[in-house]
């Protein structure tokens, strides 16, 4: 397992960790002008980025109705046109991170449907361009921002090349995949990506958002939802499918150090699938004899959940109980989903997290997952 550090060890190293207040593992920088991204694309495909509105991207039709961003800081208004609250890194740092006491923010981008775009070469080029754009504009100028290596899984070879290209960059702390995929992520065409994650000791982040777009199957097992509400409410189900697939296909037997962070999926479903999966495994283990431990052991050891949005509990005690079941003292990470705060303020979201767990969720668990990369100066 790669180097993981405690708050105390971190403090000894650079003196800055002791006072850490919060690490936010999910901040979405917004690309508002693809013209700024195109120069970072590989030359042969740069022309595909410069068309109006950006590169060709299949989209689904699910979009929130009503006012957006909730209590996220209102963007500056220039010439009567409001900007996007996540388009300018300095502004995000000043208005969100500094004001709310966030010391480190991991950037997760806004290209969650990249993995279901039909043209694998364009998708890989987009990933490469966006990664360099993020590094150049957000990460390298600011120690507080850490980058994710976005990859397009359609062509695992190109994804691996991208991980190898940036895997040792001090500003990059994880590999990022949209959870919308053609197939469940345990299937073996994806394994080279995990091998590369393990080789560079990088956690893998999955992020919902592209479900139902492009080559993706309908976003639920029973077909396309009707509304954004239904679509978003159902999305944790794709995490369940990915978890089952990755464990069943032996991903964690092959790559025992791999950690997977699940963004924006909540936690209340985890006990159900841990227990259901264990029960079925006891019966059906002979089908996949390399799965040597109860699936819940792999889940608790390899998967991490994030706080935005935690489920609304009918009573605070219930949240505490569920967090105990999923060993949230190790497995739950604070995320804000900045600037998409429609569902509530990210700090209010954790109001009912038991007091004793709060430092773990806000700081220590992220340090344990990401290790010293998270605090390494890189700017």
């Amino acid at each position: 397992m790669g180097a993981t550090i405690t708050r105390e060890q971190a403090a000894e190293r650079d003196g800055s960790a002791a006072g850490l207040r919060a690490i936010d593992v999910d901040v979405h920088p917004q690309i508002t002008d693809w013209g700024t991204v195109a120069p970072y694309a590989p030359e042969g495909l740069r022309h595909r980025m410069t068309r109006r509105g950006g590169p060709p991207m299949a989209r689904h039709g699910f979009k929130m109705v009503g006012p957006r961003f909730g209590s996220a800081p209102a963007p500056p208004d220039s010439a009567g046109k409001a900007g996007h609250p996540a388009s300018d890194p300095a502004w995000v740092k000043g208005q969100y991170l500094d004001r709310r006491g966030v010391d480190v923010a991991i950037l997760t981008g806004d290209l969650t449907s990249l993995g279901v775009q039909p043209n694998a070469d364009v998708a890989a080029a987009i990933a490469q361009a966006v990664n360099d754009w993020v590094l150049d504009r957000w990460v390298r100028p600011f120690d507080c921002f850490k980058g994710s290596i976005l990859v397009a899984p359609q062509d695992a070879a190109q994804a691996v090349a991208e991980i190898d290209r940036l895997g040792d960059d001090p500003g990059m702390v994880q590999v990022l995949l949209g959870s919308a995929t053609e197939s469940p992520l345990g299937r073996r065409q994806y394994h080279p990506i995990y091998e590369a994650c393990a080789r560079h000791d990088l956690p893998l982040a999955l992020h919902i958002g592209g479900e139902g777009a492009g080559m993706a199957p309908p976003s639920t097992a029973v077909g396309h939802p009707t509304t954004y509400f239904e679509w978003y409410g159902s999305l944790p189900q794709v995490y369940m499918a990915h978890i089952m697939s990755m464990i069943t296909e032996g991903v964690f037997e092959k790559f025992p150090t791999l950690k997977v962070v699940l963004h924006e999926g909540g936690v209340f479903w985890l006990p159900h699938i841990m227990w259901r999966f264990d029960k079925n495994w006891k019966a059906q283990r002979s089908e996949t004899p390399w799965v040597k431990e109860p699936p819940s052991a792999y889940i608790l050891r390899h998967f991490y959940s994030t706080t935005y949005p935690l489920e609304a509990s009918p009573a605070p005690a219930h949240l505490g109980q569920v967090l105990e079941m999923i060993e949230a003292d190790r497995t739950l990470l604070f995320s804000s989903n900045y600037p998409n705060w429609e569902l509530g303020d990210p700090f209010a979201m954790i109001d009912d997290v038991p007091e004793g767990l709060r430092p773990r969720v806000l700081v220590e668990n992220a340090l344990a997952v990401y290790g010293e990369r998270l605090l390494r100066p890189h700017s």
């Binding site: 239904e230 369940m240 499918a241 227990w275 264990d278 009918p314 219930h318």
Partner: protein, 387 residues
């Protein structure tokens, strides 16, 4: 695999069971257990020939109709090997055999039949499947329900044709032996969609609950078994099943199905229970911000779950720590929402005499008897055959 050489002493077969009461208790207080998921076997589609209009008989010829079939295979037989009857090689091919193997042994008073062909709703030819559904319902009534008061029937329908389904529900909706409408969880479109509302209109008209039962995912016209495509193994496939339940549940709520049909009761059968807190908690979290898109919703999503939805136990989740299961059940108010189901004679049968031993007695009583009585109503106690 060779057939084991089993030598069993005659006298060793007797099990310690209470002698069965001669007649059904009419009063709920006397009921001990209601099983909401008993799979009576149909030995073959040809059995339905006498119930099928002549025009469809050619479909049954030449080895039977083309039927899309599942390809994920259980590592064992998929059935309770100890319940198979020698005469027909089936565990639930004969109603008296099931009385003996299930009802008597586990002290079950009422068994709701969920049959063995719900997958008809993901077959391609909806016209033929609607005919099969009607024939199957007649067969169920004649062979199982009418002769035995302990069995109650489910109205199977070709869900892919909602109009035909509604006709079938209206045809049988007042039969005292039928207690619900049954849908397969595998589907092309989530069950809250307006496409299906004619089915619910007919069900509500006859005061019938609707039950969705897992099965046939990824087969025929159904979607892939998950929102990200096809799993590789039966272990995954079977574990994935509950996702279809969640998707239908989210759909039923967010589409406003329970606003359109406030008296509709919906049961989720064989998906387990503990996923309901996720649906309640996530949708409640989203509701204040997202209700602008769904102005027809008048209540918090969890309220529809608590008032309109029921969840069957089987396969009951089995955490090492029993307290955890009870905590999850408390979140979903299992004392109102959970029904017992055995899934006899399938391999993942839950034994009611053991699986719930650590449940508080009052909760167990709610799950074993009272919630089912509340959901199904007086029909469940109608006398229509011999005990």
């Amino acid at each position: 695999m060779t057939a084991p050489n089993i030598i069993i002493k005659e006298d060793s077969m007797a099990l310690a069971v209470e002698p069965r009461e001669a007649t059904f208790a009419e009063r709920a207080a006397q009921l001990r257990l209601i099983d909401t998921d008993v799979h009576n076997d149909l030995p073959g589609l040809n059995e339905l020939r006498p119930f099928l209009a002549k025009q469809w008989h050619p479909w049954l010829d030449n080895g039977g109709p083309g039927q899309a079939a599942r390809y994920y295979a259980n590592m064992g037989s998929g059935r309770m090997d100890d319940a198979i009857r020698e005469e027909d090689g089936l565990a639930a091919g004969d109603p008296d055999w099931v009385v003996q193997q299930l009802m008597t042994k586990y002290r079950i008073d009422i068994g709701i039949l969920t049959g063995s062909i719900i997958g008809l709703s993901i077959q391609h030819d909806y016209r033929f499947q609607a005919a099969i559904a009607s024939a199957y319902n007649e067969w169920t009534l004649e062979k199982w329900v009418r002769p035995f008061t302990c069995y109650k029937g489910s109205i199977a329908c070709a869900v892919q044709d909602p109009e035909a389904s509604a006709r079938e529900i209206r045809r049988l909706g007042d039969d005292p032996g039928m207690v619900q409408v049954l849908l397969a969880s595998a589907a092309r479109i989530p069950y809250g969609n307006k496409f299906y509302w004619p089915i619910y209109a007919a069900a509500v008209e006859h005061g019938l609950p609707v039950a969705v039962h897992v099965g046939s995912e990824g087969t025929g016209i159904a979607n892939a078994p998950t929102g990200v495509g096809f799993p590789s193994t039966y272990l995954e496939f079977h574990t994935d099943h509950s996702q279809t339940m969640m998707a239908h549940c989210v759909s039923l709520i967010t589409e406003g199905t329970f606003e359109e049909f406030p008296t509709l009761k919906f049961a989720f059968i064989e998906g387990g229970t503990c996923w309901a807190p996720y649906v309640m908690g996530r949708l409640d979290r989203l509701y204040p911000a997202l209700k602008a898109e769904t102005p027809y919703l008048k209540r918090r999503p969890s309220e529809y779950i608590l008032d309109n939805c029921y969840f069957s136990t089987q396969p009951i989740e089995e955490p090492d720590n029993h307290a955890h299961l009870l905590q999850m059940l408390a979140i979903m108010k299992a004392e109102k929402t959970v029904l017992f189901a055995s899934d006899y004679p399938h391999w993942d049968f839950d034994n009611p005499l053991m699986a719930f031993n650590f449940f508080p007695a009052d909760l167990k009583r709610r799950i074993f008897v009272e919630n089912a009585l509340e959901m199904y109503g007086p029909r469940l106690l109608a006398t229509h055959g011999r005990a």
